[in-house]
C-alpha cells in the first residue's frame, strides 16, 4: 500500500513535468512575439479586464488553500470538513470558469476572436473594409502596433488561457469524482492517495494561472 502511494505521487509529479513542457511551448511563443511586437502586446494586454483577472487569481489561490485543507482533513480522517473543503474547491473552480466565460464573451463582443475561430473573422481586414471603423475592436492601439499584431496577441491569449481552462475543466471533473467517493466514505487515513494526487494536479493548474495572469494582464500596462 505504501509502495502504491509512493508510486502514485511520483507518477503525478512526472506527469506534471510533462505538463510544464506542454505549456512551455506556448510560453516560448509568447516570449518570442512579446519581444518582437512589444507595442501590440501592450495594446492587447491593456484591453484585458484586469479586475476580472485579479478576482480570478484570488479565486484560484483560495481554491488551492481549500484543496490543501481537503488533503489535510483526509489524512487525519475528519470526514465532514473533508467533504466541505472538496465541495468548496469544486465551487471555486467553477467560479473561475464562469468568470473566464464572461471575459471570453466580452472579447467576442469586441470582435477580438482571432482568425476563423468563429464565423465572421472579426480581425480580418476585408471585414473591416465593409464600412466598419477600424476601431470597432474598441482597442487603444499604441504607437507602432498594428491590428494584425494584436491579433497575434489574442491568438496566444486564447491558446494559453483556453488550454488552462481545459485543464480546469478536467480538474473539476476529477474533483467531482473525489467528492462522490468521499461522500461514499472511500477515503480514510490509510487510503487517500487519490486526494493527494489530484490535489497536486489542482495546485499545478493554479500555478500555471499565477504565471499567465501577470504575463497576459499586467505586463505592459505602463508601456509608452
Amino acid at each position: 500500500m505504501e509502495q502504491q502511494r509512493e508510486a502514485g505521487t511520483l507518477g503525478m509529479w512526472i506527469f506534471l513535468v510533462t505538463e510544464i513542457m506542454f505549456f512551455g511551448g506556448m510560453f516560448l511563443a509568447y516570449a518570442l512575439y512579446r519581444t518582437t511586437f512589444p507595442a501590440a502586446f501592450a495594446s492587447g494586454s491593456n484591453h484585458l479586464d484586469i479586475y476580472l483577472g485579479a478576482v480570478n487569481t484570488g479565486v484560484l489561490i483560495l481554491s488551492s488553500f481549500t484543496m490543501a485543507m481537503a488533503v489535510y482533513f483526509t489524512q487525519v480522517g475528519n470526514r465532514r470538513p473533508q467533504i466541505f473543503c472538496l465541495a468548496l474547491t469544486l465551487l471555486l473552480g467553477l467560479t473561475f470558469l464562469g468568470i473566464k466565460a464572461v471575459e471570453y464573451h466580452q472579447k467576442y463582443e469586441d470582435h477580438l476572436i482571432p482568425g476563423h475561430l468563429i464565423p465572421g473573422n472579426p480581425f480580418d481586414p476585408e471585414v473591416q473594409e465593409e464600412g466598419r471603423p477600424l476601431d470597432h475592436h474598441k482597442l487603444h492601439l499604441l504607437t507602432g502596433a498594428t491590428v494584425a499584431q494584436v491579433e497575434m496577441f489574442y491568438w496566444i491569449y486564447f491558446a494559453m488561457t483556453g488550454m488552462h481552462a481545459l485543464h480546469m475543466i478536467i480538474g473539476a471533473g476529477l474533483l467531482t469524482f473525489l467528492l462522490i467517493y468521499s461522500l461514499k466514505g472511500r477515503f480514510d487515513p490509510e487510503y487517500h492517495s487519490p486526494v493527494e494526487v489530484i490535489g497536486l494536479y489542482w495546485h499545478f493548474v493554479d500555478i500555471v494561472w499565477i504565471f499567465l495572469f501577470p504575463l497576459l494582464y499586467l505586463l505592459g500596462r505602463h508601456y509608452h
Partner: protein, 554 residues
C-alpha cells in the same frame, strides 16, 4: 561470485501467462505487462509492414531517373507516409513498448509495471492514434514530409495534415504514459537487493529513454496542436503572412524530434549492452560509464536540435554552439562503442543470431554516427543538407542501429516470450542477408548525396542512376531478409523446439523464472545478491556456445 548452476529452475511449467486465460477479452482487457507487450508487438509489426510497403514504392520509383512509376504528388505522399508511419508508429514504440514492457518488471524482479491499467490505456491510445493516421492515409494522404514544415503545412498543402497531426498528437500520449510508467516502476518496484548499480544496462537505457519521452513528447504535442489550429482557424503563430515565424515551428518541432532519435537508439543500445555482455560471457567493460553515457545522451540530446536549422535564418553564433554540442553528443555514444568493443576483447564469444545483430549494430552505428559529424559541421552541412547523404546517415542510425537492436533483442528474448526457440540456422542466415541488403541499400546513397542528389524528388539526373539501381537492389535483398524472420517467428510459435527457462545460461533475473513466465513473473519475490553480468567461472560455463539452439529448418 555465484555459479549459474546453483540456481534452481522450476520444471517446465503447465501454467504461464499465455495459457493462464483464454479468449479475446482476456487479451483486450489484460493488465499483464507481458500480454500488453505482445499486443504492441502485433500492432507495431502491422505498422512496420505498411511503412515497408511505402519504402518499397520509393525504391521502385527511384530505379529509373524519370518519374514513371509514381507521379510527383503521389511520390510526395509516399515518402511522407513512410516517414510518419516508421517514426511515430514503429521506431519510437518498437523496443520500449514491446521488449521494455515485457522485460523491465522481470529484470527488476517485480510482478508488473507500477501502473498496469495506464499501460493498457497507452496501447489503446496508440491504436487510436494509429487508426486516425491510417484514416488520413486512406482519405487522401499527407504530402508535407514527416517534418510538417510551415507555412506549407498550414497554408498551401491540400492534403490531410490535420488528421495526420491529430494521430501523432494522440499517439504522443501513449509515449508519455509509457515513459512515466517506466520511470516510476524503476524507482519504486525494484526487488530487494536490486540496487541501481546492479540493474542490467537495458534498464539504464530505458530510464534515459523515458526521460526523453516525458520531457520531449509534450512539446511536439503542443506544436502539432498549434499547427492544426493554425490550419483550421487561419490564425498565425507560424504563418509569416500574419507576422508569425515559421522558424519557431522548426525549433519547437526539432526540440522533440531530435531527442526522438535518441528515443529510437537508446533502447537499442540497451539491448546491445545485454547482448554483447551475455554472448561474450564477460562483465561489461566499464559498467558505470555505459550506464551514465545513456543519461548523458539523454541530456545532450536535448541541446543539439539547432543542427537541423543550419541552412535557415538561425544565427550563425547559435549555429556554432549547436555544432559544438552536436560534436559533444558523440562522446557518450563513442564511450558505449569503445566499451562494447573492449568487452569483446579476450572473451568467449558465441556467434548466435542475437550476437550477429549486435556485432552488426556496432559497425553500422559507428558508420551512422561518424557521418553524423559531417552534418554537424556548419560548412559541410551547407553542401550536404537535404541530399541523400542525410537520408543514408539517418537510416544507418535508425535501421542499422535501432532496427538491428530490435531484431537482435527479439531473437534473444524470443524463448522467454514464447517458450519456443527460433530456428538458429535460419536466424543466422537472415541476419547476414539483412546486413548485406542494408549496406547495399544505403552505402551508395552516401555517394549519391555527396555528389549532390537531393532528397524528396521523384526524378533525378541520369548520372545518379547507378547508385539508385544498387540501392533498389539492396532494398529488395533487405526486404527479403526481413520476411525470413517474419515467417520463422510465426512458425516457431507452434513448431519451434520448447525453450528451457534459461536457454542461454545467463545470470539475469528474467532467466531465473520459467519460459514463458507465469502471470506474476516469479513464484516468490527474488532477492538479488549479484551484479548484472556476474558470470560463473570459465570452466563451468564452457558449455555455452555448443549449447546454442540446434540448427533447425535448414
Amino acid at each position: 561470485m555465484q555459479a549459474i548452476e546453483s540456481f534452481e529452475v522450476p520444471a517446465p511449467p503447465k501454467v504461464n501467462y499465455i495459457n493462464a486465460q483464454y479468449g479475446l477479452k482476456s487479451w483486450l482487457l489484460t493488465k499483464d505487462h507481458k500480454r500488453i507487450a505482445l499486443l504492441y508487438l502485433g500492432s507495431i509489426t502491422f505498422f512496420f509492414f505498411i511503412g515497408g510497403i511505402y519504402a518499397l514504392m520509393i525504391r521502385l520509383e527511384l530505379l529509373t531517373p524519370q518519374g514513371d512509376f509514381l507521379q510527383s504528388t503521389t511520390y510526395n505522399k509516399v515518402f511522407t507516409q513512410h516517414g510518419i508511419i516508421m517514426i511515430f508508429f514503429f521506431l519510437i514504440p518498437s523496443i520500449p513498448a514491446t521488449l521494455g514492457n515485457f522485460l523491465i518488471p522481470m529484470m527488476i524482479g517485480a510482478k508488473d509495471l507500477a501502473f498496469p491499467r495506464i499501460n493498457l490505456l497507452s496501447w489503446y491510445i496508440y491504436l487510436l492514434g494509429g487508426v486516425i493516421t491510417i484514416y488520413a492515409l486512406l482519405a487522401g494522404g499527407v504530402d508535407t514530409g514527416w517534418t510538417f514544415y510551415t507555412p506549407y503545412s498550414t497554408t498551401f498543402s491540400n492534403s490531410y495534415v490535420v488528421a495526420a497531426g491529430l494521430g501523432i498528437f494522440i499517439n504522443g500520449f501513449s509515449s508519455i504514459l509509457t515513459g512515466l510508467n517506466f520511470i516510476v516502476t524503476i524507482h519504486t518496484m525494484r526487488a530487494p537487493g536490486m540496487t541501481w548499480f546492479r540493474m542490467p544496462l537495458f534498464l539504464w537505457s530505458h530510464y534515459a529513454t523515458s526521460l526523453i519521452m516525458i520531457l520531449g513528447t509534450p512539446v511536439i504535442a503542443i506544436t502539432v496542436l498549434l499547427l492544426a489550429f493554425e490550419r483550421v482557424a487561419k490564425v498565425g503563430i507560424f504563418n509569416p503572412a500574419m507576422g508569425g515565424d515559421p522558424i519557431l515551428f522548426q525549433h519547437l518541432f526539432w526540440f522533440y524530434s531530435h531527442p526522438a532519435v535518441y528515443i529510437m537508439i537508446l533502447p537499442s543500445m540497451g539491448v546491445i549492452s545485454e547482448l554483447i555482455a551475455n554472448f561474450s560471457r564477460k562483465n561489461i567493460f566499464g559498467y558505470s560509464f555505459v550506464a551514465f553515457s545513456s543519461l548523458a545522451i539523454a541530456v545532450f540530446g536535448f541541446l543539439v536540435w539547432g543542427h537541423h536549422l543550419f541552412v535557415t535564418s538561425q544565427s550563425v553564433y547559435a549555429g556554432m554552439i549547436f555544432s559544438f554540442l552536436s560534436f559533444a553528443v558523440a562522446i557518450p555514444s563513442a564511450i558505449k562503442v569503445f566499451n562494447w568493443t573492449a568487452t569483446l576483447y579476450k572473451s568467449s564469444i558465441s556467434y548466435d543470431t542475437p550476437m550477429l545483430y549486435a556485432l552488426g549494430f556496432i559497425g553500422l552505428f559507428t558508420v551512422g554516427g561518424m557521418t553524423g559529424l559531417f552534418l554537424a559541421s556548419l560548412a559541410t552541412d551547407v553542401h550536404l543538407s537535404d541530399t541523400y547523404f542525410v537520408v543514408a546517415h539517418f537510416h544507418y542510425i535508425m535501421v542499422g542501429g535501432a532496427l538491428m537492436g530490435y531484431l537482435g533483442g527479439l531473437h534473444y528474448w524470443w524463448p522467454k516470450i514464447t517458450g519456443r526457440m527460433y530456428p538458429e540456422g535460419w536466424g543466422r542466415f537472415s541476419a547476414l542477408v539483412i546486413f548485406v541488403g542494408f549496406n547495399l541499400t544505403f552505402l551508395p546513397q552516401f555517394v549519391a548525396g555527396y555528389l549532390g542528389m537531393p532528397r524528396r524528388y521523384h526524378a533525378y539526373p541520369p548520372e545518379f542512376q547507378v547508385f539508385n539501381v544498387l540501392s533498389t537492389a539492396g532494398a529488395s535483398i533487405l526486404g527479403f531478409g526481413m520476411l525470413i524472420p517474419a515467417i520463422y517467428f510465426v512458425w516457431s510459435m507452434r513448431y519451434g523446439r520448447h525453450a528451457e527457462a534459461n536457454p542461454w545460461h545467463l545470470p539475469g533475473l528474467e532467466w531465473r523464472t520459467q519460459s514463458p513466465p507465469p502471470t506474476e513473473n516469479f513464484e516468490v519475490t527474488p532477492v538479488v545478491t549479484w551484479d548484472a553480468y556476474e558470470f560463473a567461472p570459465r570452466e563451468e560455463t564452457e558449455i555455452v556456445g555448443k549449447f546454442g539452439p540446434e540448427l533447425e529448418g535448414i
